[in-house]
């Protein structure tokens, strides 16, 4: 009997230990420390006191619900535009047109250019006196005088979204293009033989087949956009009048600019909560897709 009892093999677990230690040090410990700090009055002082939920109460008493709403609005509009333009762009790049490879290369620069440089270029374009956009609009008679896009709440809000879409769309496009190239050509050819038009084939064959990739990219894009800091910071620093202050900008201003580490940590905890929800959705979706694929096999 004893010979039949398998001995537990600990060796694989041993191999995981270094990775586990690194993960604990660079992920778990900072998260735990952030949660701890969020219940303290940590600031520039070398000592800190426990303050219970005070930081959370202060946070919600001062415009934080507005900031949460603004963050989701900003993210929703930006991700939607990236996905729509990305799907359309991928479809165009997947079409059999001359010079297709050149177009595939040309779509990448916004993503390849260092973000700060790209955003500075946009900040010049948004300038009313010297910027290209205002100049063109004036030339075509659409506006009477120079328009400062970063000077007004609505225009600043949507200007930051346009820049974020410009930077984020190429990756979405290339990712979805790869998914489209995985669609079996015989399915499309069979539909073509049956008289299905180009748009019908795209809507009824290509789009459903790439839907797992669309969903995955939407979620990843939502997480990246939610955390987007540099674009807004360089263009507006969250202004005018907080019109572009998202949760990540608010957290930076509180914790780093104003050295209120306790209050900043409370904001960071909220971000972690939201991102955990996104990540939960993501893993749930991946697991469903995997199960579906196993079922299809």
């Amino acid at each position: 009997m004893a010979a039949n009892v398998k001995k537990t093999d600990y060796f694989p677990y041993l191999l995981l230990v270094p990775a586990l230690i690194v993960t604990l040090l660079i992920v778990a410990w900072p998260v735990v420390e952030t949660i701890r700090l969020s219940f303290t009055d940590a600031s520039l002082k070398l000592t800190e006191n426990y303050v219970g939920l005070e930081n959370y109460e202060k946070m919600f008493a001062r415009k934080f619900p507005e900031t949460i709403f603004r963050t989701f609005y900003w993210m929703g509009v930006s991700v939607s535009l990236k996905m729509i333009i990305g799907i359309a762009g991928a479809a165009l790049l997947n079409a059999a047109v001359p010079g297709r490879n050149l177009f595939r290369v040309l779509v990448m620069p916004p993503w390849i250019v260092p973000i700060a440089i790209g955003v500075f270029i946009w900040s010049w374009m948004y300038n009313g006196q010297f910027g290209m956009i205002s100049g063109l609009l004036q030339r075509f008679g659409l506006i009477a005088e120079p328009m400062e896009f970063l000077a007004f709440r609505n225009s600043a809000f949507f200007s930051t979204i346009v820049t974020d879409v410009w930077i984020g769309t190429p990756l979405v496009t290339i990712y979805l293009l790869a998914a489209m190239q995985g669609v079996r050509p015989d399915l499309l050819e069979a539909a073509w033989v049956d008289g299905a038009g180009r748009f019908y084939r795209f809507r009824r064959i290509t789009l459903p087949l790439i839907m797992p990739a669309v969903a995955t990219m939407s979620l990843l894009s939502a997480i990246w956009t939610f955390n987007s800091f540099d674009i807004i910071w360089i263009l507006t620093e969250g202004g005018p009048r907080d019109a572009t202050t998202t949760m990540i900008i608010d957290t930076y201003k509180t914790a780093i600019s104003r050295f209120k580490y306790g209050e900043g940590s409370a904001r960071a905890v909220m971000i972690v909560l939201f991102l955990t929800l996104f990540a939960g959705f993501y893993f749930l979706m991946i697991s469903r897709i995997a199960k579906k694929e196993v079922g299809n096999d």
Binding site: S43, L44, K45, Q129, E148, P240, R241
Partner: protein, 411 residues
């Protein structure tokens, strides 16, 4: 194996010898104690050459101490020093905006500078005001600026104004800006209202020329005053005849507009004189408001000495050496900065270049940056008030009252 054992036997004395040599070197280096000095900006410019020489002289007079000067870009400089200090690894001394000194002292991160009455007397009172909190001096001023009104003489002439007569009162100022706006292709004024620190700085010039204050000498917030409401109304009135969309502009972005002849006037510091090129310009004191007198915002940067480094005494000694009257003036002249003290050498600068007068005359009646414990909070509150009025989303009265309420938490 035998070869390995033999080579190991040879290696052992070599390693031991190496360790002894390294240990000896370490001891030799260890005799020099490091004095970590965080300096904002880069190591270029005439002023830094002066400091390099002065530091070498200080090291010669203080054997055993080695100054380790670290240059950090302006954008991260103060943040780096403050973060290091709050993490318990402070530099011995650092270049800081004087506005941060109260916050640093309130958090017990810096030591007071022991200044004698004689030393204090070398500074104008308003300059001392930029470094004094709770009766103690917390930094030694190292750089200084005042502001004045630049005007474009050609645009004044084109608008039918006397190009040699800059406005001296707010009424004249608004009238001149309106005339330029209506009679030329340019805008009358350059106004900064972006979410930046210098928006608040610009506004403080209006506050001080109209007899206003943010925080009084007793530490009370007195921002909600008729003087300041009037100042904000003036700021908004000038914004009406300024370049479109002032909220997209910080002060630095006004310079290209002035150089291109797109704005008739702007408020800025003495450095613009070197930068605005071929424009036919003049510079005059900031016009005076109906309830005030001549004024300007005085901004100083200081050397702050941090606590807990073990070399506080040496850092204080170095600070005093670098900022002593003669050494400081040599540094200022080499850097092109406004002189902090009214020394005999300053008169020579005035004689040589009379455009200095608008900046130097303002010192005696200037006001300091508000000295509070949460400077960024204060800056955001005042910028919010300015932007809300310029966007037409609040009255000046409400905006000032709201900001004053917020400021109570930051004093």
């Amino acid at each position: 194996m035998a070869i390995f054992r033999e080579s190991r036997m040879k290696l052992t004395p070599i390693l031991l010898g190496g360790a002894m040599v390294l240990s000896g070197l370490g001891t030799a280096f260890g005799q020099e104690t490091r004095v970590h000095f965080i300096n904002c900006g880069d190591d270029q410019g005439g002023g830094n050459a002066v400091h390099t020489r002065l530091i070498a002289e200080w090291e010669a007079a203080n054997p055993g101490y080695k100054v380790d000067r670290e240059f950090v870009p302006w954008g991260q400089c103060q943040e780096k020093s403050t973060t290091l200090a709050s993490a318990g690894d402070a530099p011995a001394l650092a270049y800081m905006g004087s506005r941060t000194l109260k916050q640093l002292s309130a958090n017990d991160l810096i030591v007071a500078i022991d200044m004698t009455d004689e030393e204090k007397a070398t500074y104008a009172d308003p300059v001392l005001g930029t470094i004094t909190a709770n009766g103690q001096v917390w930094g030694a001023p190292i750089a200084f600026s005042t502001k004045a009104l630049y005007w474009n003489k050609d645009l004044f002439a084109e608008a039918g104004l006397d190009p040699e007569s800059p406005p001296t009162t707010w009424d004249e100022w608004l009238a001149a800006a309106t005339a330029i706006n209506e009679n030329t292709d340019a805008n009358g004024m350059g106004i900064a209202a972006a979410s930046f620190d210098n928006t608040m700085h610009q506004f403080m010039n209006y506050v001080y020329t109209n007899g206003g204050e943010v925080i009084n000498s007793d530490g009370e917030i007195v921002f909600n005053s008729p003087n300041n409401v009037e100042a904000l109304k003036m700021y908004a009135a000038l914004a009406e005849v300024a370049q479109p969309g002032p909220i997209a502009y910080d002060r630095g972005k006004l310079r290209p507009l002035f150089i291109e002849g797109q704005i008739g006037m702007m408020i800025s510091g003495p450095w613009e004189r070197r930068l605005i090129g071929d424009v036919n310009w003049g510079v005059a004191p900031i016009p005076v408001g109906p309830q005030g007198g001549p004024g300007t915002l005085l901004i100083t940067d200081s050397l702050a000495v941090f606590k807990g480094t073990g070399v506080e005494e040496q850092a204080l000694s170095l600070t005093k050496w670098l900022t002593s009257p003669d050494n400081q003036l040599e540094f200022e002249l080499a850097s092109g900065l406004t002189p902090l003290r009214d020394l005999p050498g300053v008169q020579a600068i005035r004689d040589e270049d009379p455009t200095w007068n608008a900046f130097l005359d303002a010192i005696a009646t200037g006001g300091p940056e508000p000295f509070v414990t949460d400077y960024v909070g204060l800056q955001d509150a005042i910028n919010e008030a300015i932007q809300s009025v310029i966007l037409g989303e609040a009255s000046a009265e409400d905006a000032i009252a709201d900001a004053a309420d917020l400021l109570e938490d930051y004093k």
